[in-house]
Symmetry: D4
């Protein structure tokens, strides 16, 4: 089966956050690949990655980056696939810098931004996008939501005691 989702990040220091996305895709049995692509240290690699993604069968790219977080935006610049941006929390500005750098894209080149360190939600969003083309995946998402609701009710029952 071809790879459906590409997960990239600016540095391996982002891996502890971004692996949440990988784990969730695994739980949904969605094939993915994961690598490091630095917009600033390896700009050509960004272009190459973005251009080859479609040929590999990738339908959605998840890109995480912190600070002057250019990776999601530059990936979006080089591909027509939807790109989901994960602002990584930074030790100095808590990720507000990452968030603004990722979300405030100019007209013409969107990045689908999730919350700071929101790699898990990035994966869920990717799954929802794949669900546009695949009813089985959409059904999986529905089941996931039902399960979440059940868990809240269980927690509520415990708290009420």
């Amino acid at each position: 089966m071809s790879v459906k989702v590409g997960i990239i990040m600016g540095s391996d220091s982002d891996l502890p956050v971004m692996k949440d996305a990988a784990e969730l895709l695994e739980a949904f049995e969605i094939s993915y690949e994961l690598t490091v692509v630095s917009a600033h240290r390896t700009p050509k690699r960004v272009a190459n990655y973005a251009e080859q993604a479609e040929d590999k069968g990738i339908d959605v790219i998840i890109a995480g980056a912190g600070g002057a977080a250019h990776l999601p935006g530059m990936t979006a610049a080089e591909t027509s696939l939807p790109v989901i941006g994960v602002p990584i929390k930074t030790s100095k500005l808590s990720g507000v810098d990452s968030l603004y750098s990722i979300v405030q894209m100019p007209g013409g080149v969107p990045v689908a931004t999730v919350g700071i360190n929101g790699a898990k939600n990035a994966a869920l969003l990717a799954i929802q996008m794949l669900g546009v083309a695949d009813n089985n995946i959409r059904q999986q998402m529905k089941d996931y939501k039902s399960e979440m609701a059940e868990q809240v009710k269980e927690t509520a029952a415990e708290v009420e005691e």
Copy 2:
């Protein structure tokens, strides 16, 4: 042809921003519907809208809201379709309030957030999502990007003179 994209907003005062999304979808000949659904004044309407969207054939929902902007998040809570959130600029906090209220969703319920007043980019993101299931739409997106690049070069030529 069934409606593919649902555009909703919290108030008709958001219409001057949100119509950018409608216009871009028209330019791409993507069928859409557009209405007002207030999370706070008509909470049941949000639930109904979200639940019926899939049956109407809607694949992606674009929701714009300002201030304590709950509409995108509450729509995402009620559907398994991908929801794109547009933070509307506010007169008091410039849309930082809208941005934080939309993007900082809890794990399990993502909203694909675009920049403040980024309704046009929301439409482009919706088109990229539809492109996951439709190569013609993906091709349209590629053509759009090529055209943008051409326009930059023309502008550059004028500026250089």
Copy 3:
């Protein structure tokens, strides 16, 4: 005696903060109930909770939530009872996101917002609201304020030594 105050929160991770409200209500011998209701994971539960609250005799609802903190606002959308919102401190944006999401409500649907992690003050505010209908409770509040003033004077005496 019927329940007077309902305390709800978006997740059991909010419990360490929100139990301050419960403890203060106990000290005032005000009956309350406490549970978990997630706006995003269990939206229907919010509507049900809000609608049934009045029938249970609840006069005031205290709702705590963090991040894109929709629970107080969505509860306020579904009930005519006063709703007090407690913005929970977040690890990423310190609760500014929670504060903006709770306080910046649109015209027509107020949430009585207290400070970040201000669950104790939320309970005091609920007591002041109950005092509108009950002079005994109002008197309790006066006694509480007198006691606080006494404590400051005692602390002052210690510090001055």
Copy 4:
């Protein structure tokens, strides 16, 4: 009929915002009084106002102020009645200063804070508090909410055309 709600503000420059509260109370036929009380220029007046409010029959105080907005907090310090704070938008810091000064109260002395310039919501919150003691007022609030929902549906119908 005695006065039920006291509306105070730090300066008459706050009147264009605060009159929204007065107008809404009039629409609900709730008796109120409105005056100027500066925490910084007339501190004794704050104490006197707060102490006499209860004897006048006032059940809720609405206080609006901008900048280092001490009026709501100082009023809350001097009374056991619930105090609603309205942060007034400022020309320099857009009302973030007013919001922080009003909402971040220490434990023991809550102020029920509404959004920046949210005088209308302050009045609705006051009405909800009065509704704790008066079922007619609570019913009025329910009718108001129904009417708001109707208006959204009408607007939606216009927008959809």
Copy 5:
């Protein structure tokens, strides 16, 4: 010798910061008193303190407070003596709330604000104010500045090695 400087704070939790002011005044052999006065829990005490300060011989008041930090401003409202405000760092908003609440005073009632947790600088500022009336104190300040410059040069020499 009469007391020259009054140091007050909103809570004894501010003492670890505010004692820096006391220590510096001791080093300059300026007589001072130090106590706890809560603007919110003991508003009358603020008024009394401020009114009696001048009779005690106090020429400058230093007031530290955090969050909705009303103590410096309310003290300034009640006296004609210069009041120096020390914004205390808070666990939630890092002291931005304290800073805005103290510095953004309305026209007519200034507070001389120093940096967040800047109690030492508050004492130096008080000394400079006392120096307006006392050349010996002004000379002490000059000596202090010379000594600081010497220390920098010594540090520089160590670092250069």
Copy 6:
């Protein structure tokens, strides 16, 4: 009579704000001088101004500046007189940049900071400082405060009508 207060600013574009300080000093009949001294364009001039101020009889310096507002801090570095800093509102960051640059001084070199564009309050603070050495000035300040209180009461009477 010698000059008591020196008013300086970084640029003549600050004059519309800073003249409020001059006008208030005139109303109090306090002698002052006013000039332009740029920390960045004329650093030597700052040093000279600060060093000569004391010999001219100046007891307090008021310094206004915007952006990376170094003038108040550099003046404070060069003199033992108290320096009052006025953060000027900027078109880009609303004066938050000016405020942080002025108030966040390191230990040893305080600047008495007033609110953004608070030149009038800077003059009142200067007057309070002069009042440390001069009971007549202190009395003037008391009269000023009484008058302010009267004006609030008059305004209140008008608003109440």
Copy 7:
């Protein structure tokens, strides 16, 4: 004479700001070129521009951009020449987004950032960099600084009158 400075910007809407850089370089008789290069719409053009700059004789690149301002950082990624970034003021976030996106670069790829809309200072910084290799240019910079100081003194003389 070969071109010494390259001025690029993300959009021709940045031209009213960026032309300040061009005008200052003209006043110093430094040869420059100016064009539009969009990081997001023409990513390949950024790479080409950056790679060819050195061969054209360019020693310094000035890049202006707003919002998720990736142009300066991506240019710096593709060249070893020093890159000066000019954060353009935005209508939504005042340029804080541009500033954070430009200045918070990761280790290894610096951008020399100037203030928001600081195109004139970007040109002066470029001149200072050229002065590292050319004493005539360094002397021009000294003359410019002397002239600025003179202008401040003239302004001061006018204001003092």
Copy 8:
């Protein structure tokens, strides 16, 4: 060989950050000197340092400072050499104060600002500036960038496994 780069900082508490600049210059075999110069405690020392720098052969100055970080700006005021500013992270405002104080310089006196705690990038920027006059240094910078790219690829290979 003469000293090429001067590294200065406001306090020896900045040394743990600023030594990154020194280490990188050593790796490039660029001669530098490093010392402590406090803008606020030793203002004359700033002027002297800046004036003598050129005679010592210094071509670029790197200045690090935190809070009301005046050192980079005041150094730039006193020299025609390019000055690179390093905003040091602060415990209270995370370095936003330092950043604004350094980057928001007035027209005429630029500071080349790098990210918060970005001392390493300051050194790289200094090297790029020296490369304007020295092709060997420019080549070293190119080699450095190639090596960085290689390291990313190696990291990527490890992560992909």
